[in-house]
Protein backbone atom coordinates (compact mmCIF):
# COMPACT_ATOMS: atom_id res chain seq x y z
CA UNK A 1 0.00 0.00 0.00
CA UNK A 2 1.52 3.30 -1.11
CA UNK A 3 1.06 6.39 1.05
CA UNK A 4 1.13 10.09 0.34
CA UNK A 5 0.27 13.25 2.19
CA UNK A 6 -1.20 14.61 -1.01
CA UNK A 7 -2.07 12.63 -4.14
CA UNK A 8 -2.59 14.57 -7.35
CA UNK A 9 -4.54 12.81 -10.08
CA UNK A 10 -3.61 14.23 -13.47
CA UNK A 11 -0.36 15.90 -14.56
CA UNK A 12 -1.67 18.43 -17.05
CA UNK A 13 -1.29 22.18 -16.43
CA UNK A 14 -3.46 22.12 -13.29
CA UNK A 15 -1.92 19.01 -11.75
CA UNK A 16 1.62 20.18 -12.48
CA UNK A 17 1.21 23.61 -10.87
CA UNK A 18 -0.59 22.05 -7.90
CA UNK A 19 2.33 19.67 -7.44
CA UNK A 20 4.92 22.44 -7.73
CA UNK A 21 3.14 24.63 -5.16
CA UNK A 22 2.42 21.86 -2.67
CA UNK A 23 5.94 20.45 -2.94
CA UNK A 24 7.54 23.87 -2.46
CA UNK A 25 5.36 24.47 0.60
CA UNK A 26 6.65 21.18 2.00
CA UNK A 27 4.07 18.44 1.53
CA UNK A 28 5.06 14.98 0.42
CA UNK A 29 3.26 14.13 -2.75
CA UNK A 30 2.56 11.59 -5.42
CA UNK A 31 1.61 12.83 -8.89
CA UNK A 32 -0.28 10.32 -11.05
CA UNK A 33 -0.95 10.40 -14.81
CA UNK A 34 -2.03 7.78 -17.32
CA UNK A 35 0.32 9.07 -20.00
CA UNK A 36 4.00 8.16 -20.35
CA UNK A 37 5.00 11.84 -20.06
CA UNK A 38 3.90 14.83 -17.95
CA UNK A 39 2.05 17.78 -19.42
CA UNK A 40 -1.41 16.55 -20.28
CA UNK A 41 -2.76 18.29 -23.37
CA UNK A 42 0.03 20.91 -23.33
CA UNK A 43 2.30 18.48 -25.18
CA UNK A 44 0.44 18.95 -28.44
CA UNK A 45 -0.34 22.63 -28.18
CA UNK A 46 2.18 24.11 -30.55
CA UNK A 47 0.45 27.49 -30.71
CA UNK A 48 1.52 30.48 -28.64
CA UNK A 49 -0.58 31.36 -25.63
CA UNK A 50 -2.23 34.73 -25.04
CA UNK A 51 -2.45 36.59 -21.77
CA UNK A 52 0.02 38.34 -19.56
CA UNK A 53 3.70 37.60 -18.99
CA UNK A 54 2.99 35.73 -15.79
CA UNK A 55 0.65 33.50 -17.73
CA UNK A 56 3.36 32.48 -20.17
CA UNK A 57 1.95 34.58 -23.02
CA UNK A 58 3.82 34.32 -26.29
CA UNK A 59 5.11 30.90 -25.28
CA UNK A 60 3.96 27.72 -27.00
CA UNK A 61 1.97 25.21 -24.97
CA UNK A 62 4.58 22.52 -25.57
CA UNK A 63 7.26 24.73 -24.05
CA UNK A 64 5.11 25.61 -21.06
CA UNK A 65 4.71 21.89 -20.43
CA UNK A 66 8.50 21.57 -20.60
CA UNK A 67 9.06 24.49 -18.20
CA UNK A 68 6.67 23.01 -15.62
CA UNK A 69 8.10 19.52 -15.99
CA UNK A 70 11.63 20.81 -15.48
CA UNK A 71 10.58 22.82 -12.43
CA UNK A 72 9.06 19.67 -10.99
CA UNK A 73 12.20 17.63 -11.58
CA UNK A 74 14.03 19.59 -8.90
CA UNK A 75 11.34 18.92 -6.31
CA UNK A 76 10.84 15.79 -4.21
CA UNK A 77 7.67 14.62 -5.92
CA UNK A 78 6.97 10.93 -6.50
CA UNK A 79 5.67 10.42 -10.04
CA UNK A 80 3.54 7.50 -11.23
CA UNK A 81 3.24 7.54 -15.02
CA UNK A 82 1.36 5.14 -17.30
CA UNK A 83 -0.86 4.92 -14.23
CA UNK A 84 -4.60 5.23 -14.48
CA UNK A 85 -6.62 5.92 -11.31
CA UNK A 86 -9.55 3.60 -11.74
CA UNK A 87 -11.33 3.95 -8.44
CA UNK A 88 -11.74 5.98 -5.27
CA UNK A 89 -12.51 4.02 -2.13
CA UNK A 90 -13.33 4.99 1.44
CA UNK A 91 -10.82 7.08 3.35
CA UNK A 92 -9.00 8.33 0.29
CA UNK A 93 -7.86 5.02 -1.09
CA UNK A 94 -7.03 5.18 -4.78
CA UNK A 95 -6.81 2.10 -6.98
CA UNK A 96 -4.24 2.64 -9.70
CA UNK A 97 -3.99 0.49 -12.80
CA UNK A 98 -0.71 0.05 -14.63
CA UNK A 99 -0.38 -2.35 -17.56
CA UNK A 100 1.17 -5.09 -15.47
CA UNK A 101 -0.15 -4.43 -11.94
CA UNK A 102 -2.69 -2.84 -9.67
CA UNK A 103 -1.49 -0.42 -7.00
CA UNK A 104 -3.26 0.96 -3.97
CA UNK A 105 -2.47 4.38 -2.58
CA UNK A 106 -3.76 5.93 0.64
CA UNK A 107 -3.59 9.74 0.63
CA UNK A 108 -4.50 12.26 3.30
CA UNK A 109 -5.60 14.79 0.72
CA UNK A 110 -6.39 14.37 -2.96
CA UNK A 111 -6.36 16.95 -5.74
CA UNK A 112 -8.25 15.78 -8.81
CA UNK A 113 -7.09 17.44 -12.04
CA UNK A 114 -8.19 14.91 -14.60
CA UNK A 115 -9.20 17.40 -17.27
CA UNK A 116 -11.87 16.77 -19.86
CA UNK A 117 -12.72 14.75 -22.93
CA UNK A 118 -14.17 15.87 -26.22
CA UNK A 119 -17.87 15.79 -26.96
CA UNK A 120 -19.35 14.04 -29.90
CA UNK A 121 -22.49 14.78 -31.88
CA UNK A 122 -25.01 12.44 -33.36
CA UNK A 123 -25.29 12.14 -37.12
CA UNK A 124 -25.61 9.13 -39.41
CA UNK A 125 -22.28 7.29 -39.76
CA UNK A 126 -20.64 9.32 -37.00
CA UNK A 127 -18.87 6.14 -35.94
CA UNK A 128 -16.92 5.71 -39.18
CA UNK A 129 -13.13 5.67 -39.05
CA UNK A 130 -12.12 9.12 -40.23
CA UNK A 131 -14.34 10.91 -37.74
CA UNK A 132 -12.01 12.25 -35.06
CA UNK A 133 -12.09 14.46 -32.05
CA UNK A 134 -10.18 17.62 -33.00
CA UNK A 135 -7.74 17.03 -30.17
CA UNK A 136 -6.97 13.61 -31.58
CA UNK A 137 -6.00 15.09 -34.94
CA UNK A 138 -3.90 17.68 -33.13
CA UNK A 139 -2.08 14.91 -31.28
CA UNK A 140 -1.41 13.00 -34.48
CA UNK A 141 -0.07 15.96 -36.41
CA UNK A 142 1.79 17.86 -33.68
CA UNK A 143 3.12 15.08 -31.48
CA UNK A 144 3.61 12.18 -33.87
CA UNK A 145 3.97 13.88 -37.23
CA UNK A 146 1.23 11.76 -38.82
CA UNK A 147 -1.36 13.08 -41.29
CA UNK A 148 -4.62 11.15 -40.81
CA UNK A 149 -5.94 12.06 -44.26
CA UNK A 150 -5.82 14.58 -47.08
CA UNK A 151 -8.90 16.77 -46.76
CA UNK A 152 -10.86 17.70 -43.67
CA UNK A 153 -14.17 19.13 -42.58
CA UNK A 154 -13.96 20.86 -39.18
CA UNK A 155 -17.16 20.99 -37.17
CA UNK A 156 -17.01 23.74 -34.57
CA UNK A 157 -15.54 27.23 -34.81
CA UNK A 158 -14.50 27.72 -31.19
CA UNK A 159 -10.80 28.16 -30.48
CA UNK A 160 -10.04 24.44 -30.70
CA UNK A 161 -11.80 24.17 -34.09
CA UNK A 162 -10.02 27.22 -35.48
CA UNK A 163 -6.57 26.38 -34.12
CA UNK A 164 -6.63 22.73 -35.16
CA UNK A 165 -7.82 23.82 -38.60
CA UNK A 166 -4.84 26.02 -39.24
CA UNK A 167 -2.53 23.45 -37.70
CA UNK A 168 -3.93 20.95 -40.21
CA UNK A 169 -3.23 23.42 -43.03
CA UNK A 170 0.31 23.83 -41.70
CA UNK A 171 0.67 20.04 -41.71
CA UNK A 172 -0.39 19.85 -45.36
CA UNK A 173 -3.98 18.74 -44.84
CA UNK A 174 -6.46 20.74 -46.89
CA UNK A 175 -9.35 22.04 -44.77
CA UNK A 176 -12.42 22.05 -47.03
CA UNK A 177 -14.48 24.10 -44.56
CA UNK A 178 -15.09 24.97 -40.94
CA UNK A 179 -18.75 24.89 -39.99
CA UNK A 180 -20.63 26.02 -36.91
CA UNK A 181 -24.30 25.60 -36.12
CA UNK A 182 -24.31 28.98 -34.40
CA UNK A 183 -24.66 32.15 -36.47
CA UNK A 184 -21.27 33.45 -35.44
CA UNK A 185 -17.70 32.23 -35.09
CA UNK A 186 -17.03 31.00 -31.57
CA UNK A 187 -13.29 31.56 -31.21
CA UNK A 188 -10.90 34.51 -31.16
CA UNK A 189 -10.93 36.67 -34.27
CA UNK A 190 -7.17 36.35 -34.68
CA UNK A 191 -7.47 32.59 -35.29
CA UNK A 192 -10.37 33.00 -37.72
CA UNK A 193 -8.44 35.66 -39.61
CA UNK A 194 -5.47 33.30 -39.94
CA UNK A 195 -7.76 30.74 -41.58
CA UNK A 196 -9.32 33.32 -43.86
CA UNK A 197 -5.81 34.30 -45.06
CA UNK A 198 -5.18 30.63 -45.85
CA UNK A 199 -8.34 30.55 -47.97
CA UNK A 200 -10.37 28.33 -45.66
CA UNK A 201 -14.13 28.95 -45.74
CA UNK A 202 -16.02 29.25 -42.47
CA UNK A 203 -19.75 28.56 -42.79
CA UNK A 204 -21.82 29.64 -39.82
CA UNK A 205 -25.38 28.36 -39.35
CA UNK A 206 -24.37 25.05 -40.85
CA UNK A 207 -24.37 21.59 -39.38
CA UNK A 208 -23.43 18.14 -40.57
CA UNK A 209 -26.27 16.05 -41.99
CA UNK A 210 -24.37 12.81 -42.44
CA UNK A 211 -20.98 11.24 -43.03
CA UNK A 212 -20.71 9.16 -46.20
CA UNK A 213 -18.56 6.09 -46.67
CA UNK A 214 -18.51 2.32 -46.27
CA UNK A 215 -15.64 1.47 -43.93
CA UNK A 216 -14.26 5.01 -43.60
CA UNK A 217 -15.18 8.60 -44.34
CA UNK A 218 -15.33 9.42 -48.03
CA UNK A 219 -17.51 12.53 -47.97
CA UNK A 220 -19.66 14.71 -45.72
CA UNK A 221 -23.03 16.28 -46.31
CA UNK A 222 -23.46 19.64 -44.60
CA UNK A 223 -26.71 21.59 -44.42
CA UNK A 224 -27.74 25.13 -43.49
CA UNK A 225 -29.93 25.65 -40.42
CA UNK A 226 -32.58 28.21 -39.59
CA UNK A 227 -32.91 30.32 -36.45
CA UNK A 228 -34.30 27.29 -34.63
CA UNK A 229 -31.30 25.17 -35.69
CA UNK A 230 -33.47 23.07 -37.97
CA UNK A 231 -31.97 21.98 -41.28
CA UNK A 232 -33.24 23.98 -44.26
CA UNK A 233 -34.23 21.61 -47.09
CA UNK A 234 -32.25 21.75 -50.34
CA UNK A 235 -29.32 23.66 -48.85
CA UNK A 236 -27.11 20.56 -48.61
CA UNK A 237 -23.51 20.77 -49.77
CA UNK A 238 -21.48 17.63 -50.37
CA UNK A 239 -17.82 17.90 -49.42
CA UNK A 240 -15.26 15.35 -50.53
CA UNK A 241 -13.30 14.80 -47.34
CA UNK A 242 -11.60 11.88 -45.61
CA UNK A 243 -11.42 13.55 -42.20
CA UNK A 244 -14.35 14.86 -40.17
CA UNK A 245 -13.11 16.68 -37.09
CA UNK A 246 -15.37 17.30 -34.12
CA UNK A 247 -14.57 20.39 -32.07
CA UNK A 248 -17.91 20.66 -30.32
CA UNK A 249 -16.97 21.23 -26.73
CA UNK A 250 -15.40 19.39 -23.82
CA UNK A 251 -16.89 17.66 -20.79
CA UNK A 252 -15.14 17.21 -17.45
CA UNK A 253 -13.78 13.70 -16.75
CA UNK A 254 -15.54 13.46 -13.42
CA UNK A 255 -16.25 9.78 -12.72
CA UNK A 256 -13.90 9.61 -9.74
CA UNK A 257 -15.65 12.58 -8.12
CA UNK A 258 -19.02 10.88 -8.43
CA UNK A 259 -17.54 7.77 -6.91
CA UNK A 260 -16.00 9.76 -4.06
CA UNK A 261 -19.43 11.12 -3.21
CA UNK A 262 -18.69 14.76 -3.98
CA UNK A 263 -21.73 16.95 -4.41
CA UNK A 264 -22.06 17.28 -8.18
CA UNK A 265 -23.92 20.04 -9.99
CA UNK A 266 -24.81 20.47 -13.65
CA UNK A 267 -23.60 23.81 -15.00
CA UNK A 268 -23.73 24.14 -18.81
CA UNK A 269 -21.29 27.07 -18.84
CA UNK A 270 -18.70 24.81 -17.22
CA UNK A 271 -19.24 21.97 -19.66
CA UNK A 272 -21.44 19.61 -17.67
CA UNK A 273 -21.33 18.12 -14.23
CA UNK A 274 -18.70 19.55 -11.90
CA UNK A 275 -18.09 19.04 -8.21
CA UNK A 276 -19.37 21.85 -6.03
CA UNK A 277 -16.29 23.81 -5.06
CA UNK A 278 -15.36 27.16 -3.55
CA UNK A 279 -12.72 29.73 -4.44
CA UNK A 280 -10.12 27.62 -2.63
CA UNK A 281 -10.92 24.75 -5.01
CA UNK A 282 -12.22 22.71 -2.08
CA UNK A 283 -15.19 20.39 -2.58
CA UNK A 284 -17.75 19.43 0.03
CA UNK A 285 -15.50 16.52 0.95
CA UNK A 286 -12.85 17.95 3.31
CA UNK A 287 -10.01 15.93 1.78
CA UNK A 288 -10.87 16.44 -1.88
CA UNK A 289 -9.90 19.34 -4.13
CA UNK A 290 -10.42 19.97 -7.84
CA UNK A 291 -8.72 22.14 -10.46
CA UNK A 292 -8.44 22.76 -14.18
CA UNK A 293 -10.95 21.69 -16.80
CA UNK A 294 -12.32 19.08 -14.40
CA UNK A 295 -13.68 21.92 -12.31
CA UNK A 296 -15.05 23.76 -15.34
CA UNK A 297 -13.99 23.92 -18.99
CA UNK A 298 -11.79 26.92 -19.48
CA UNK A 299 -8.17 27.41 -20.53
CA UNK A 300 -4.72 26.16 -19.70
CA UNK A 301 -3.89 29.52 -18.11
CA UNK A 302 -6.82 29.28 -15.69
CA UNK A 303 -5.99 25.62 -15.09
CA UNK A 304 -2.49 26.60 -13.98
CA UNK A 305 -3.86 29.22 -11.58
CA UNK A 306 -6.50 26.88 -10.16
CA UNK A 307 -3.81 24.25 -9.72
CA UNK A 308 -1.77 26.69 -7.62
CA UNK A 309 -4.80 27.43 -5.45
CA UNK A 310 -5.65 23.75 -5.03
CA UNK A 311 -2.04 22.92 -4.18
CA UNK A 312 -1.93 25.64 -1.52
CA UNK A 313 -5.37 24.73 -0.14
CA UNK A 314 -4.59 21.04 0.12
CA UNK A 315 -1.34 21.87 1.90
CA UNK A 316 -3.18 24.23 4.29
CA UNK A 317 -5.82 21.66 5.15
CA UNK A 318 -2.99 19.31 6.08
CA UNK A 319 -0.45 21.53 7.82
CA UNK A 320 -2.26 24.78 8.49
CA UNK A 321 -2.22 28.19 6.84
CA UNK A 322 1.14 29.89 6.32
CA UNK A 323 2.06 33.33 5.04
CA UNK A 324 3.41 31.76 1.88
CA UNK A 325 0.34 29.65 1.17
CA UNK A 326 -1.96 32.65 1.74
CA UNK A 327 0.11 34.77 -0.63
CA UNK A 328 0.05 32.12 -3.36
CA UNK A 329 -3.71 31.78 -3.15
CA UNK A 330 -4.38 35.52 -3.10
CA UNK A 331 -2.16 36.16 -6.07
CA UNK A 332 -3.62 33.32 -8.11
CA UNK A 333 -7.19 34.37 -7.30
CA UNK A 334 -6.45 37.94 -8.38
CA UNK A 335 -4.97 36.74 -11.67
CA UNK A 336 -7.94 34.46 -12.28
CA UNK A 337 -10.28 37.36 -11.73
CA UNK A 338 -8.35 39.43 -14.25
CA UNK A 339 -8.35 36.70 -16.91
CA UNK A 340 -12.08 36.18 -16.48
CA UNK A 341 -12.86 39.90 -17.09
CA UNK A 342 -12.38 39.60 -20.83
CA UNK A 343 -15.21 38.68 -23.24
CA UNK A 344 -13.97 35.10 -23.49
CA UNK A 345 -13.80 34.74 -19.73
CA UNK A 346 -17.50 35.57 -19.45
CA UNK A 347 -18.81 32.03 -19.85
CA UNK A 348 -16.61 30.41 -17.23
CA UNK A 349 -17.04 33.39 -14.90
CA UNK A 350 -20.79 32.95 -15.14
CA UNK A 351 -20.46 29.23 -14.60
CA UNK A 352 -18.25 29.54 -11.57
CA UNK A 353 -20.64 32.10 -10.07
CA UNK A 354 -23.40 29.52 -10.29
CA UNK A 355 -21.57 27.33 -7.86
CA UNK A 356 -22.97 28.02 -4.42
CA UNK A 357 -19.91 28.47 -2.37
CA UNK A 358 -18.69 28.50 1.20
CA UNK A 359 -22.08 29.28 2.68
CA UNK A 360 -23.27 25.78 1.83
CA UNK A 361 -20.92 24.11 4.22
CA UNK A 362 -18.73 25.66 6.86
Amino acid sequence: MLQAEIAIVGAGPAGLTAAIVAAKLGASLTLIDDNPVLGGQLIKQTHKFFGSKSHYCGIRGINIGQILTTELENLPVKKLLNASVIGYYENNLLAIYQPDRLLKLRAQKIIFATGASENTIAFPNNDLPGVYGAGAVQTLINVYGVRPGKRALMIGSGNIGLIVSYQMMQAGIDVAAVIDILPKIGGYHVHAAKLARLGVSIFTSYTIKEAIGKDWVEAALIVKVNKKYQPIPRTEKRLKVDIICLAVGLSPLNELLWQAGCEMVYIPELGGHVAQHNEDMATNKPDIFVSGDLSGIEEASTAMLEGKIAGASAYESLKGVTEESEKIKEQAKAELCMIRQGPFGEKAKCGKEKLSVATRWA
Binding site: D34, N35, P36, T46, S84, S117, E118, D127, L128, P129, G130, V131, Y132, G133, G135, A136, T139, L140, N142, Y144, G145, V146, P148, Q170, K214, D215, W216, L253
Partner: protein, 98 residues
Protein backbone atom coordinates in the same frame (compact mmCIF):
# COMPACT_ATOMS: atom_id res chain seq x y z
CA UNK B 1 8.16 22.13 -36.24
CA UNK B 2 10.77 19.55 -35.47
CA UNK B 3 10.20 16.04 -34.27
CA UNK B 4 12.61 14.12 -32.05
CA UNK B 5 14.71 11.35 -33.62
CA UNK B 6 13.03 8.00 -33.23
CA UNK B 7 14.13 4.46 -33.95
CA UNK B 8 12.37 2.69 -36.84
CA UNK B 9 11.00 -0.73 -35.95
CA UNK B 10 9.15 -3.49 -37.77
CA UNK B 11 5.78 -4.72 -36.55
CA UNK B 12 2.99 -6.85 -37.96
CA UNK B 13 -0.58 -5.85 -38.77
CA UNK B 14 -2.85 -8.74 -39.76
CA UNK B 15 0.30 -10.69 -40.61
CA UNK B 16 1.69 -7.97 -42.87
CA UNK B 17 5.05 -6.40 -41.99
CA UNK B 18 4.90 -2.65 -41.51
CA UNK B 19 7.32 -0.07 -40.13
CA UNK B 20 6.76 2.45 -37.39
CA UNK B 21 8.71 4.33 -34.73
CA UNK B 22 9.56 2.73 -31.43
CA UNK B 23 7.47 4.15 -28.59
CA UNK B 24 4.94 5.99 -30.68
CA UNK B 25 1.36 4.87 -29.97
CA UNK B 26 0.49 1.82 -32.08
CA UNK B 27 -2.50 3.77 -33.44
CA UNK B 28 -0.22 6.51 -34.82
CA UNK B 29 1.88 3.88 -36.60
CA UNK B 30 -1.25 2.31 -38.08
CA UNK B 31 -2.65 5.63 -39.32
CA UNK B 32 0.76 6.47 -40.81
CA UNK B 33 0.48 3.21 -42.76
CA UNK B 34 -3.01 4.16 -43.98
CA UNK B 35 -4.79 1.64 -41.79
CA UNK B 36 -8.19 3.15 -41.05
CA UNK B 37 -10.16 0.22 -39.63
CA UNK B 38 -9.00 -1.05 -36.21
CA UNK B 39 -11.89 -3.32 -35.34
CA UNK B 40 -15.46 -4.33 -36.09
CA UNK B 41 -18.26 -4.06 -33.55
CA UNK B 42 -19.98 -6.99 -31.91
CA UNK B 43 -23.54 -6.75 -33.18
CA UNK B 44 -23.61 -4.69 -36.35
CA UNK B 45 -20.02 -5.30 -37.47
CA UNK B 46 -19.46 -1.57 -37.91
CA UNK B 47 -15.91 -0.46 -38.68
CA UNK B 48 -14.18 1.51 -35.92
CA UNK B 49 -10.91 3.39 -35.88
CA UNK B 50 -8.96 6.14 -34.16
CA UNK B 51 -11.19 8.68 -32.39
CA UNK B 52 -10.24 10.34 -29.10
CA UNK B 53 -6.49 9.65 -28.76
CA UNK B 54 -6.66 9.84 -24.95
CA UNK B 55 -7.79 6.34 -23.99
CA UNK B 56 -11.39 7.25 -23.22
CA UNK B 57 -13.65 6.16 -26.10
CA UNK B 58 -12.96 2.44 -26.73
CA UNK B 59 -12.93 2.95 -30.48
CA UNK B 60 -9.34 1.74 -30.89
CA UNK B 61 -9.39 -1.61 -29.08
CA UNK B 62 -7.27 -4.18 -30.87
CA UNK B 63 -5.53 -7.46 -30.15
CA UNK B 64 -1.82 -6.89 -29.55
CA UNK B 65 0.31 -10.06 -29.30
CA UNK B 66 -1.88 -12.23 -27.07
CA UNK B 67 -3.71 -9.39 -25.29
CA UNK B 68 -7.23 -8.44 -26.40
CA UNK B 69 -8.86 -5.03 -25.88
CA UNK B 70 -5.63 -3.05 -26.01
CA UNK B 71 -6.13 0.70 -26.36
CA UNK B 72 -3.76 1.23 -29.25
CA UNK B 73 -3.96 5.01 -28.94
CA UNK B 74 -2.20 4.66 -25.55
CA UNK B 75 -0.09 1.52 -26.01
CA UNK B 76 3.39 2.24 -27.33
CA UNK B 77 4.83 0.39 -30.32
CA UNK B 78 7.68 -2.05 -29.76
CA UNK B 79 9.62 -4.05 -32.33
CA UNK B 80 7.96 -7.27 -33.43
CA UNK B 81 4.51 -6.53 -32.05
CA UNK B 82 1.67 -8.45 -33.69
CA UNK B 83 -1.35 -6.20 -34.06
CA UNK B 84 -4.68 -7.61 -35.18
CA UNK B 85 -8.19 -6.40 -35.71
CA UNK B 86 -10.71 -7.52 -33.16
CA UNK B 87 -14.21 -8.55 -34.18
CA UNK B 88 -16.61 -7.96 -31.33
CA UNK B 89 -15.42 -8.20 -27.76
CA UNK B 90 -11.99 -9.59 -27.12
CA UNK B 91 -11.75 -12.90 -25.33
CA UNK B 92 -10.25 -12.67 -21.86
CA UNK B 93 -8.20 -15.56 -20.59
CA UNK B 94 -4.75 -16.79 -21.56
CA UNK B 95 -5.82 -19.98 -23.30
CA UNK B 96 -8.23 -18.30 -25.70
CA UNK B 97 -5.62 -15.87 -27.03
CA UNK B 98 -2.72 -18.08 -28.08
Amino acid sequence: MTFPEKKTVQFFFEGKALTGYEDEPIAAALVANNVMVFRYTEKMKRARGFFCAVGKCSSCLMKVDDRPNVMVCMELLKSGMKVNRQVGRGKIGAASNK
